[in-house]
């Protein structure tokens, strides 16, 4: 199914929660969704017979300087088509509902986004830092991250 068709379908189902389609220059195209509806949209994408996006390829946090975003790359094993989902978050206290109940694969990716961007995934079954130590300060992949000089008295 083409990105435009998927966008139209989602638009029909979720109305204003589906913001826009990022098509030009994006591969795969992104459907931008309001963060609050993320889980519902994800569930619909997975369960709808015509879409059946049963696999979450990748989930990444992005820092667009003025905004955060979470990008989801979905793929359907059944129909062999792909789509991107994106949701924009404010810089202050970014949080959105988790999708790890829809795709269990999301858990580690969400932990990574939480670890490196500080994006909170509400309702996640296990949201801890994954790559960095538990007591690390800051979220390194943010564009405004300042490198610490010391970690536990060790020069970094």
């Amino acid at each position: 199914m083409e990105a435009q068709a998927i966008f139209d379908m989602l638009k029909g189902k979720f109305g204003d929660a589906v913001v826009e389609l990022q098509g030009e220059g994006f591969s795969p195209a992104f459907v931008v969704v309001a963060p609050a509806e993320m889980n519902a949209v994800a569930r619909f994408l997975r369960d709808d017979a015509a879409l059946s996006f049963d696999s979450l390829m990748c989930l990444s946090g992005v820092d667009y300087k003025e905004k955060f975003a979470v990008a989801y790359h979905l793929h359907s094993m059944k129909h062999r088509h792909a789509i991107g989902l994106k949701t924009m978050l404010p810089r202050e206290n970014p949080s959105l509902p988790t999708v790890d109940d829809v795709w269990p694969a999301a858990n580690f990716h969400e932990r990574e986004a939480f670890d490196l961007f500080g994006i909170a995934f509400v309702g996640s079954k296990d949201l801890r830092r994954i790559l960095l130590p538990e007591d690390w300060e800051g979220h390194p992949l943010r564009k405004d991250y300042k490198y610490p000089d010391f970690y536990h008295g060790i020069k970094v």
Binding site: Q22, G25, F26, S27, P28, F30, D54, S55, L56, M57, C58, S60, V62, D63, A71, H73, M77, R80, G84, W103, P104, A105, N107, F108, H109, L116, R129, I130, L131, L132, P133, P140, L141
Partner: protein, 376 residues
């Protein structure tokens, strides 16, 4: 079985496995909660090899990031090199000369063979048979020689370039490749006779950590781990990138031949069979390789257009997806690398419930994880 309530009170034991454990394939740490030898919970703790490759990527140019992809999966650096090159080319819509694509496919498949040899070898070593490991290493050395010939290094190849490859195959390379394939092909049968179908080995792997197909898809497993569950999904076929559509090869899937579909033995067997398919591909590529340039004209100060691209390629450990955001400058704006091992660690806790300590080792080996790929 009835449970007695008047039995001796027992306590669960927490064991720290790793990060310096011989069979966690690097610096993986697993926190085991065991009831005697039976593991009630195994929580993987990753991140001991985190080097911030994604952050580094934002500070170097597209060409400069190539050597860093070597360090992504050091056992399959060629595949990672090419994945990066393909991703950038997809972003900037660069046409790559056909000879370069053929060379890439040849080195990728050779690297797949050498990576699977390590997977095979280290897995058997985990299972207690040390000899096949050295046989695997011995064969891998021939692949390393080939790579040394074509790119000058034995482990961190840095061979692919945005727009092609760094150099043409030196004279004699293709002949040597053919020689190696002829030498190597019978060795696979030898491995099978030596260890794959050994009764003890089969017993150790069969019916251990069974992952049904739907679960494998839902957890995002890719590569041999997914195919071991019987899902015929191979990006080389399904995404048909590069010149892969020109070759005739089979997608190997697990068959449950010695146990349940999706057990450790199936995942192991998929790798063994994939080596045969890779041999097939390399043979065809060597036979068909056209003449021509190997590097497209790419400006030295390379600036791709603004855009976002997600490129996935089939690496030996599953899908390596590169999500690349360009803001039009010389550096990537954001790059995220999704790797097969990272995703495989996600399902680890689920499949290891109720196994024995020895099986934990079997599961780690059957996923063929590699830590730099998990931690990046």
């Amino acid at each position: 079985m009835t449970t007695r309530t008047d039995a001796l009170p027992t306590q669960e034991m927490t064991i720290n496995m790793g990060p310096q454990h011989p069979s966690t394939h690097g610096v993986l740490r697993v926190i085991l909660t065991t009831d005697g030898e039976v593991v009630t919970r195994a929580v993987p703790d990753v991140g001991y090899l985190h080097r911030g490759l994604e952050k580094i990527g934002e500070r170097v140019t597209y060409a400069q990031f190539m050597p860093f992809t070597d360090r992504l999966d050091y056992l399959a650096a060629m595949n990672c090199n090419c994945a990066w090159a393909w991703a950038v080319e997809k972003l900037a819509k660069i046409e790559v000369p056909e000879r370069a694509e053929y060379l890439r496919v040849i080195v990728c498949e050779l690297n797949r063979i050498s990576s699977h040899l390590i997977a095979f070898g280290s897995y058997t070593a985990d299972m207690g048979a040390f000899t096949p490991f050295l046989y695997g290493i011995r064969e891998r050395e021939h692949v390393n020689d080939l790579f040394e010939m074509i790119c000058g290094n034995r482990l961190t190849y840095n061979y692919a370039r945005v727009g092609g490859v760094s150099g043409d195959a030196p004279p004699g390379f293709l002949e040597k490749t053919k020689e190696f394939l002829d030498y190597f092909e019978p060795k696979i049968d030898e491995y099978n006779n030596l260890i794959s179908y050994n009764k003890i080995f089969v017993h150790r792997l069969a019916n251990v950590a069974v992952i049904p197909a739907e679960e494998a898809v839902a957890y995002g497993l890719t590569g041999p781990n997914l195919r071991g569950s019987g899902v015929p999904f191979d990006l080389r076929k399904d995404e048909a990138y590069s010149v892969y559509p020109k070759f005739d090869f089979k997608v190997c899937v697990g068959t449950g031949e010695r146990g349940t579909l999706g057990d450790c033995f199936d995942r192991y067997m998929v790798r063994i069979n994939e080596m045969r398919e890779s041999i097939k591909i390399v043979r065809q590529a060597v036979a068909q390789i056209p003449d021509g340039p190997v590097l497209a004209k790419v400006p030295r100060l390379f600036k791709p257009p603004v855009g976002e691209v997600y490129f996935r390629s089939e690496c030996p450990r599953g899908e390596t997806g590169i999500y690349l955001i360009s803001d039009g400058s010389v550096n990537p704006f954001r790059l995220k690398i999704r790797t097969g091992s990272f995703v495989a660690m996600n399902i680890f806790e689920k499949v290891t419930k109720g196994l024995m300590i020895a099986d934990i080792v079997a599961v780690i080996g059957s996923f063929d994880i590699i830590l730099p790929e998990i931690d990046r």
